[in-house]
C-alpha cells in the first residue's frame, strides 16, 4: 500500500495555487492521473520520485517512510525505489540498449536483461544505440529500464504523448501487459482519456492542485 499527503505551492500561468493531495493506492493498482496542463500532475510524480520536495506532508510506500516533514525524513531520491519513465525517453545516447537497461539494475543480471529485451521484441537490437530506434522502441526501452530495477512504484510521465496514435495503441497494450505481469503499483500521468479507459483501475482527476474526482474510469470520465 502506498499513502501520501502532499502540500506544495505551485506557480501556474493563471496565478499561484496550492497543491494539496491526499491519496492511497492499493497493491498492484494502476492509477491514471488526468487533468489540464499545469494542474500539478507531473509535480506529483516528481515529488514521489524525490526530484522535487514538497513543503509539507508524508510519503509512505509499502511500510517504508520516504518523506515526512514532521519527523524531518526525506529519503534521497537514489534510495527511493522507483521506476520513472519520462515523456522524452531520456535514454543514454552513449550506451547500447543492453547497457541502458542494465544501468539501473540493483544486481547486474545479463540473463534478465536478455529476457526483458526478448519480451519486448528488441533482442536483435541489443547492441544498437538508442539513436537508431523509433519513438515507440525508445519508449519501450525506457519502460524496460525502469522495470529492470524491480521498483516498488512505477511512475510514468506521459509516456505515450510523444508517439503517433498507432504506436501509442500498441505500446499502451504493452504497458498494461507489463504492469500486470510485474505486479507493480503504477501511477501514470496522461492527457488522454483513452489511457484512462484502457489502463486505469482508478482515475485521479486533478484541477489546480486538488483532487476533483476519483474513481472507476467510466464514472470519472462520464460524470464530468
Amino acid at each position: 500500500m502506498i499513502r501520501f499527503s502532499l502540500k506544495k505551492k505551485l506557480y501556474g500561468a493563471q496565478g499561484d495555487f496550492l497543491l494539496e493531495l491526499e491519496f492511497e493506492i492499493e497493491e498492484n493498482e494502476f492509477i491514471v492521473v488526468l487533468g489540464p496542463s499545469g494542474s500539478g500532475k507531473t509535480t506529483l510524480l516528481r515529488m514521489l520520485a524525490g526530484l522535487e520536495k514538497p513543503e509539507e506532508g508524508y510519503i509512505e510506500v509499502k511500510g517504508e517512510v520516504w518523506y515526512d516533514s514532521k519527523r524531518g525524513i526525506n529519503l534521497p531520491l537514489q534510495k527511493r525505489d522507483v521506476g520513472f519513465v519520462f515523456q522524452d525517453y531520456a535514454l543514454f545516447p552513449n550506451m547500447s540498449l543492453f547497457e541502458n537497461i542494465a544501468f539501473g539494475m540493483k544486481k547486474k543480471d545479463p540473463q534478465r536483461v536478455m529476457e526483458l529485451l526478448k519480451l519486448a521484441g528488441l533482442k536483435q537490437l541489443k547492441d544498437k544505440k538508442p539513436s537508431v530506434l523509433s519513438g515507440g522502441q525508445k519508449q519501450r526501452v525506457a519502460l524496460l529500464r525502469a522495470l529492470a530495477r524491480e521498483p516498488k512504484l512505477l511512475l510514468l510521465d506521459e509516456p505515450l504523448s510523444a508517439l503517433d496514435p498507432e504506436t501509442a495503441i500498441i505500446l499502451r497494450e504493452e504497458i498494461k501487459k507489463f504492469q500486470r505481469s510485474f505486479n507493480i503499483p503504477t501511477i501514470m500521468v496522461s492527457h488522454s482519456r483513452q489511457d484512462a479507459l484502457s489502463l486505469a483501475g482508478r482515475v485521479l482527476l486533478l484541477s489546480e492542485g486538488k483532487i476533483k474526482s476519483v474513481g472507476k474510469p467510466k464514472d470519472v470520465l462520464y460524470s464530468s
Partner: protein
C-alpha cells in the same frame, strides 16, 4: 624562448584543473554571482592583450599584489620568470577552456541526469554519466583553440613576432614563408581535429 612546449603543457594541465570546476559552477549554479564570474572569465578574450598584459605586469611585479606575495614566499620575481609567464598564459587562455566546457555541461540534457538519479545513481555518477557525453568533444574543441589559436607563448607567438619583424624590415619573402607555414599548419591541424571530433562524437 626555451620552454614553449613546457609552457603549453603546464598551461593545459592547470587549465583542466581550474576549468572543469569553474565551468561546472557556471553551468549549474543559480547564484547571483554567476554572471559576474562569467564576465571575469570572458575578460581575456575581449580585452586587448596589451591591456591584459599591462595589468598582469602590475599585479605580478615585485611590488604588485601577487608578485610581492610570491616574492615573500619564494624569494624570486614572477615577472620575466617561467612561473609568471605561466600565470599569464593560464589567465589568457582561461576563456578558451571554460567556454566550451560550460557549453558542454549545459548541453547535457537535464532529464538524463534526472533519469540517472531515478535509477539509483549518486549525484556524482549522474553528472558524470552526462558529462561523458560531451567531454571528448569539448576537449577536442579546446585543443583546436589552444594548438592553433596562436596562444602558446614562444611557439606560435614567436612565429607571429617573426612575421611582424619581417614586415617591419620590408622582408616580404620571409614574411610570406612564415605566414604560409603557419596557415598550412593551422588548416592541417584544424582539419585533423575536426575529423577526430566527428569520430568521437557520440550522438
Amino acid at each position: 624562448m626555451a620552454y614553449p612546449l613546457e609552457l603549453s603543457f603546464w598551461t593545459t594541465i592547470i587549465l583542466l584543473f581550474l576549468g572543469i570546476p569553474l565551468a561546472y559552477f557556471l553551468a549549474y549554479s543559480r547564484s547571483r554571482y554567476t554572471s559576474l564570474v562569467e564576465a571575469l572569465v570572458s575578460l581575456p578574450s575581449v580585452l586587448p592583450p596589451t591591456v591584459l598584459g599591462f595589468y598582469l605586469l602590475l599585479a605580478l611585479n615585485k611590488e604588485g599584489f601577487i608578485g610581492s606575495l610570491w616574492y615573500r614566499l619564494f624569494g624570486k620575481q614572477l615577472v620575466f620568470h617561467f612561473e609568471g609567464i605561466l600565470i599569464a598564459s593560464v589567465i589568457y587562455s582561461l576563456p578558451m577552456m571554460v567556454h566550451p566546457l560550460t557549453a558542454g555541461f549545459r548541453s547535457v540534457p537535464k532529464n538524463l541526469i534526472e533519469a540517472s538519479y531515478t535509477l539509483g545513481k549518486s549525484k556524482k555518477v549522474s553528472v558524470l554519466t552526462g558529462v561523458v557525453l560531451s567531454f571528448a568533444h569539448t576537449l577536442g574543441e579546446f585543443g583546436v583553440v589552444l594548438m592553433v589559436g596562436g596562444n602558446i607563448e614562444g611557439e606560435t607567438r614567436v612565429v607571429s613576432i617573426a612575421i611582424y619583424s619581417a614586415v617591419e624590415a620590408l622582408d616580404y619573402t620571409t614574411a610570406h614563408v612564415y605566414s604560409l607555414v603557419l596557415l598550412l599548419f593551422s588548416v592541417f591541424s584544424l582539419t585533423a581535429l575536426y575529423v577526430l571530433n566527428r569520430r568521437w562524437s557520440l550522438l
